[in-house]
């Protein structure tokens, strides 16, 4: 894939990347349409750049659940 090809048809590039990494081929036009919805997710993630802290890790969630429970 080239940067130029990606820009010209990002959906085709994504389909190719999924096939390459997952071995899963495009299962139909519904899937192609749903791929376009990822653009909103990509924008959402871009808006969150700058919030991930160096020490953040998944186990912090269980700790937060217990820290934030109501105190008797």
């Amino acid at each position: 894939m080239t940067g130029t090809a990606d820009a010209a048809d990002p959906v085709a590039a994504t389909v190719a990347a999924i096939r390459c990494w997952s071995g899963i081929t495009l299962p139909g036009e519904m899937a192609r349409h749903a791929l376009r919805d990822l653009e909103a997710m990509r924008r959402g993630l871009a808006a969150l750049h700058g919030t991930l802290a160096f020490e953040d890790e998944p186990s912090g969630f269980e700790l937060a659940l217990h820290d934030l429970k109501e105190q008797p």
Binding site: S22, H33, A34, L35, L38, M41, L52, A64, L65
Partner: protein
Amino acid sequence: MTDALPAGGDLAALSLTEAAAAVAAGEATATDLVRACLARIDAHDGAVNALIRLDRDEALQAAAAADQARAAGAPLGPLHGVPLAQKDMYYRAGRVSSCGSAIRREFAPAVTATVIGRLDAAGSIDLGTLNMAEFAFNPTGHNHHRGDCHNPWDLARCTGGSSSGSGAGVAARFFYGALGSDTGGSIRLPATMCGVTGIKPTQTRVSRFGVMPLSFTCDNVGPLARTARDCARLLGVIAGHDPKDPTSAREPVPDYEAALDGDLRGQRVAVVDWFLEGAEPAILHVFERALQVLRDRGAEVHRLDAPVLDAVATYGGVISRVEAATIHAEWMRGRVAEYAPHFVGRLYPGYAIPAHAYVEALSRRGPVLREFVAQAMGHADLVAVPTLRAHVPTLAETDLETDFAAHWDRHMALTANTRPFNYLGLPAASIPIGFDDNGVPVGLTLAARPFAEARVLRAADAYQRDTDWHRRMPTAVA
């Protein structure tokens, strides 16, 4: 109004806790209850399609045994003799659990889910298994393989999903309660659309051993029933640590029913503007009326905003899509034709999300939860949310297989106010608060801090003491 539901001689009209009390007091037998439920199923499930499997003879035999046990003076569990039915993804050893799919049409697990074992031990009667979205991956109630489930208030409209048969069957008085599962709203959506009560507990509150996975970090097990008191009874039975599910919390399980005192004085309820964006005026009208009921009980309601919810929505979508895609990857490579076309259409984008985005979503979950609690619950005990921002759509309006592009946005919008609580891991219950312009139920979500299910249920019960929406019989199956 009193807590008692008018029975009118119709045992199926009792709430779950009333039915249990009737059996315990000898005012009805378990056999009576099962027969009342079977009569409702025989009369109306042809139209609703809530059940996948009905174990009629086994249920009657179990009821007879329950009646004999009571007559012999055996100790009675909190659900003794009460008919339930479960979403077809709760494993019972040796019984087919299709998960609403074709791929698992013959799948008979070797294990029994911990929650099923706990309901059995509490004395409940298992009527059978319930319709659901294929692999619990759909918020509407469509099922390509088993037939769509239909809303008992309007058979043309969605039941909500993925626990479609659970919501529709409880509403139609086919049984007194049911388990649902909730990864993005799959308990709360059927509860609101079908006019019943449902609670998604705190993440880790209930064991998921023996339960079909969809998203291992956001899946939750919880009950749907007619009242908050019913849900308190069921949650009290199923909650608590399970050595077979190492992710289940070791937090003690409180007596949820003991918390239902009707007292909301001093309770601070936050209404977060983010959840009201784009909401239909008719929904807002019903929502505001419900808030007034809470105020009349002594609650203090105030509005605020929680900007972190944009991050919650984005990260929540990342996690659920990636995990579902991963779980189904082997079948997507080898058995894709056995899925419904709309299922693979919705699942496929999950394979395109970068691994670093997924890890970021997991890593930010704790800090984002802290931010949300600070923004929304710093000065509030509860958050109140309209469960849906729009009226309940028809099955045709959300059928992705007839027009994927046209129906996609409506489909995705259904979970806007439910999915955030899965990423946040907070307990959230939906209760019926009225009807939309089409005469289909509207729901109110009440959420609270981690492990504060008792507070949520207390508020829901207090609301139901002053209203009768939860008592209404669905018009299409009256």
